[in-house]
């Protein structure tokens, strides 16, 4: 029981959507949402950035996207450099936007770490804290990315 509701989850997804809308004037669209479970596709992509929450909520919010999507995004932004480091920066910026929205929604009492961006490790989802983390698959242009909400309200088990 993670103690979060649909409104809480929307805060994170909306942050991603608003980031894309701000940069490209095109929102991302939720394609589906499900729960993290054994034998269910984990929907991770090439690069992942996450922020760690503590306070009223504990856990992590991940944003994972394929390189092709991030490269396309940089093209639209007019970036000349589109190497792996720049792609990691970009996925980190998106996680940072999530962080800003979370702080605004949950209040200043929530402590949020700086985003940590990395190439997605095969078994990264084994580190989750919530019994059933939410995986929200989103689509921007022809690309798919995922927001993974792995948090639980303090005091919940």
């Amino acid at each position: 029981m993670n103690g979060i509701n649909e409104r809480d989850i929307h805060i994170f997804v909306d942050a991603v959507s608003n980031f894309f809308f701000h940069v490209t004037e095109e929102k991302v669209e939720i394609k589906t949402a499900y729960l993290l479970e054994n034998d269910v596709p984990s929907a991770t992509y090439d690069l992942t950035s996450y922020i760690t929450l503590s306070g009223n909520f504990t856990g992590r919010i991940y944003f994972s996207a394929p390189r092709s999507m991030l490269t396309h995004l940089l093209l639209i932004m007019g970036e000349q450099v589109r190497d792996n480091d720049r792609l990691l920066d970009t996925v980190g910026e998106i996680a940072n936007t999530i962080s800003g929205n979370a702080r605004k929604h949950f209040g200043e009492t929530m402590e949020i770490s700086v985003p940590i961006s990395q190439e997605t490790e095969p078994d990264w989802l084994k580190t989750v804290v919530s019994p059933h983390s939410y995986i929200i698959l989103v689509k921007w242009k022809q690309y798919r990315a995922s927001v993974v909400v792995d948090i639980q309200r303090a005091g919940q088990t």
């Binding site: 029981m1 993670n2 103690g3 509701n5 649909e6 409104r7 989850i9 929307h10 997804v13 909306d14 608003n18 809308f21 669209e29 939720i30 394609k31 589906t32 949402a33 499900y34 729960l35 479970e37 034998d39 269910v40 596709p41 929907a43 019994p131 059933h132 939410y134 995986i135 929200i136 698959l137 989103v138 689509k139 798919r144």
Partner: protein, 756 residues
């Protein structure tokens, strides 16, 4: 009243200054008026006093002229002088009397005027002194004036006017000149003797008196003494007038000075009050602005026209997530965010508060705008549900309700927390109830349920993990999820596990609502995921309880594979019978159930579970749609208690048949047509165009129900399509037989032999 008093108190100094100014003005004007009046009197007195001087001299001159005329025998001169003497002596006498006592006299313009008596002691003394001379003088003059007339007439009569006509003319002339009256004239005519001598003597006496030395006043002649006294009187009167003018000047100067001081005082006080008021106002305004910019609640005033005041708290637009313009109508804002029914009630409530008829304290509890769910759109165009509370307080000015003070609070966190606490409490309660129920249930069946529900949830999650690009695919997924949830509901109902059954029912309701929305987007999939998470929570709790119970009973959890014991009667018979009786009771019906499930023991577990799910759904259908209420059955010449039979038969060669039959109202195509049209599943034309067979087949489509009202057992349109789906998964087929008002029979044929 309190306000009025405080206004007077606040401006008391200015009011005092103004009143003082008016009083002083009135006093100055009064004094001025009095002095002006007195100046008029003084002018008359001075003028007449001056005339007295002149009169005294004219009088003496006339007297001397008479004397000379008489000696010279100048009758004409005598006559003129006598007239002059008479006129001046009378006016002098009258005027002097006026100075002494106050009297009407002939003024300088020959018009009557009032002469006031003199006021000062000096003047009174001058007048008194003048009288001492005048009284004897007048005594001498009076006979003279009379004898003059007689003498004159005598002379005129005797010497010149022998003609009676001439005499008449003279008489008329003197009469006209008011020298004497008609009677006097007659009387005097009779005494004409010796008068010239007497007249002369009297004249000489008067002249002598006029020219007689006056030692009292140190003058050589009485005439000069009178002149001197009149001079002195005139001077004194002028002095009095001068004093009065000086007094008037002083009064005016003092008045003007006072007025200036008063004006200065008023100006200083006013400016000081004004500055203080401005400071207070500025401080109050600053405080108001600080309050309105700091306060977290939305604060504003609502007038009788339901318009928002010119000032409101900075947080108001943020709470309402709307642009608020000062003076804007409040109701359109409320209408845009609040549910319709609450908005309408709120309008009445606000109207009630703005009226004088009811007490505020009595209607506060009726406020419909507490914890109102509102749909708000943030600047990024994201729509979200938040909970707002509006509180209204009357603002009473001078005994009348002028405004409502409205406080708006965003209570979303509180409401959500309350809901979560409530949910947690309910869940705890349900868990305890479940535990008690579980303790009395078949443990193996419970283990089977936990395992089965876990598998179902995984199936749902797996289905949802596949991203769907179009709405139709998503709808297909939703229907799939609904069928499985319906199955879970049935399984839970059989064992009486309310915690799962009621949650499944809630999920069904929500998903039915989603299905009816115009477009089924990814956002709804997120909502389904949240519902699924709720299922997992409950399943997890149930699994833990069952596990603990198992430990307590010394049993281990089975994997859902083979049964360890083979009773003669299959346990599902009791479960389905209990479920049928519960549903019948809920719907006011009576039923007798007969089951033959022995063949279930020889079926693979998956098939057995599918048949149990199918049984549950068909039993629900039979009792909600098929078997009639007892009275209705009696009308149709049937027993009050309906009959429901379920049985499974082996046909040989791995072939089985499973039948569910009830003796209810049957499937009547005509009734179905009417119902579908009424529920707007199809138009009249479409319904008419379909054959009886086709119309009956519609019952197996998702979303179609024949129940009038949706409840826990029916009405969501999930039943028969789920049954058909399961039959297909079993590789079997289904036959439906029915006769109106007699029976309905579902016959499923399947095989346990794998066909390759």
């Amino acid at each position: 009243m309190e306000d009025k008093r405080s206004i007077f108190f606040r401006y008391r100094k200015i009011i005092f200054a103004v009143v003082l100014f008016m009083v002083a003005d009135a006093v100055v004007i009064g004094i001025n008026f009095y002095n002006t009046f007195k100046a008029d009197e003084s002018a008359v007195s001075i003028n007449l006093s001056g005339r007295q001087r002149m009169m005294s001299q004219r009088m003496t001159k006339a007297l001397l002229t008479m004397d000379r005329s008489l000696e010279a025998g100048d009758e004409e001169g005598l006559k003129i002088s006598l007239k002059e003497l008479t006129l001046t002596a009378r006016r002098f006498d009258r005027t002097l009397m006026g100075f002494r006592d106050g009297a009407m006299v002939t003024g300088g313009d020959d018009n009557p005027t009032y002469l006031t008596q003199v006021e000062t002691d000096e003047s009174r003394k001058f007048v008194a002194d003048a009288y001492e001379i005048w009284n004897p003088y007048m005594k001498l003059l009076k006979p003279l004036m009379n004898s003059d007339r007689e003498s004159f007439l005598d002379e005129a009569f005797k010497k010149k006017l022998g003609d009676p006509k001439k005499l008449e003319e003279v008489k008329n002339k003197f009469k006209a000149e008011e020298v004497f009256t008609d009677e006097e004239f007659k009387a005097k005519l009779e005494h004409v003797d010796n008068f010239p001598e007497k007249f002369q003597a009297e004249l000489k006496a008067a002249v002598a008196f006029a020219l007689e030395k006056n030692p009292t006043h140190g003058e050589p002649q009485n005439n000069r003494a009178i002149l001197k006294l009149m001079n002195a009187l005139t001077t004194d009167l002028e002095h009095v007038a001068s004093n009065r003018a000086a007094t008037l000047r002083i009064v005016l100067i003092v008045g003007i000075l006072f007025a200036l001081v008063n004006f200065g005082y008023t100006v200083v006080i006013s400016i000081r009050d004004l500055i203080r008021s401005d400071q207070e106002l500025a401080e109050a305004r600053n405080e108001t602005v600080e309050i309105l910019t700091t306060v977290r609640e939305g604060l504003f005033l609502l007038d009788k026209d339901k318009k928002i005041g010119t000032q409101f708290s900075k947080s108001l637009p943020d709470i309402l997530k709307r642009d608020i313009v000062p003076g804007a109508d409040f109701l359109p804002h409320l209408e845009a965010i609040a549910p319709r029914n609450i908005y309408e009630t709120a309008m009445d409530y606000i109207e009630l508060l703005l009226g004088d008829r009811v007490k505020e304290s009595l209607v506060t509890s009726l406020n419909p705008l507490t914890n109102v769910p509102v749909l708000v759109t943030d600047p990024r165009n994201n729509t979200q549900t938040r909970y707002l509370s509006f509180f209204f307080n009357r603002v009473v000015t001078e005994g009348r309700i002028s405004h409502l003070l409205v406080t708006v609070q965003d209570v979303t966190d509180r409401v959500v927390l309350t809901q979560q606490v409530e949910q947690a409490k309910n869940q705890a309660k349900v868990e305890v109830e479940t535990l008690l129920r579980l303790a009395s249930s078949d443990f193996d069946a419970l283990q089977h349920l936990v395992s089965s529900v876990g598998e179902s949830l995984s199936q749902i999650n797996e289905k949802m993990s596949a991203p769907n690009d179009d709405a139709r695919d998503r709808l297909h997924t939703l229907n799939y999820v609904m069928r499985i949830v319906h199955g879970i509901k049935g399984e839970a109902a059989v064992l009486g596990i309310d915690v799962l059954e009621s949650y499944a029912h809630e999920c069904e309701k929500e998903m039915v609502a989603m299905r009816e929305e115009d477009s089924f987007s990814g956002n709804q999939m997120l909502r389904v995921a949240v519902l699924l998470e709720g299922f997992y929570q409950r399943h997890s709790s149930l699994a833990q309880i069952v596990s603990r119970l198992g430990n307590a009973l010394g049993k281990t959890q089975t994997t859902g594979g083979t049964a360890e014991w083979v009773p003669q009667k299959h346990p599902f018979e009791d479960h389905i019978t209990a479920l049928a009786h519960r549903i019948a009771t809920d719907h006011g019906k009576q039923v007798e159930v007969s089951c033959q499930f022995e063949r279930f023991f020889s079926l693979p577990k998956t098939t057995e579970k599918e048949l149990q799910d199918i049984s549950i759904q068909l039993v629900r259908n039979a009792l909600t749609h098929g078997i009639e209420a007892p009275d209705k059955r009696v009308e149709r010449n049937k027993p009050r208690t309906g009959a429901l039979s379920l049985w499974c038969e082996y046909l040989g060669h791995g072939q089985y048949t499973f039948t569910v039959r009830d003796d209810g109202c049957g499937i009547v195509p005509e009734r179905l047509r009417e119902h579908f049209v009424k529920k707007q599943f199809m138009s009249v034309e479409e319904a008419s165009a379909l054959s009886d067979h086709e119309i009956a087949n519609r019952l197996f489509q998702p979303g179609v129900s024949t129940a009038e009202i949706a409840d826990q057992d029916s009405g969501h349109g999930i039943g028969l399509d789920a049954v058909l789906e399961k039959v297909k998964e079993m590789g079997g087929h289904m036959l439906v037989k029915s006769r109106p008002d007699q029976f309905t029979e579902f016959n499923i044929q399947f095989s346990t032999v794998q066909v390759h």
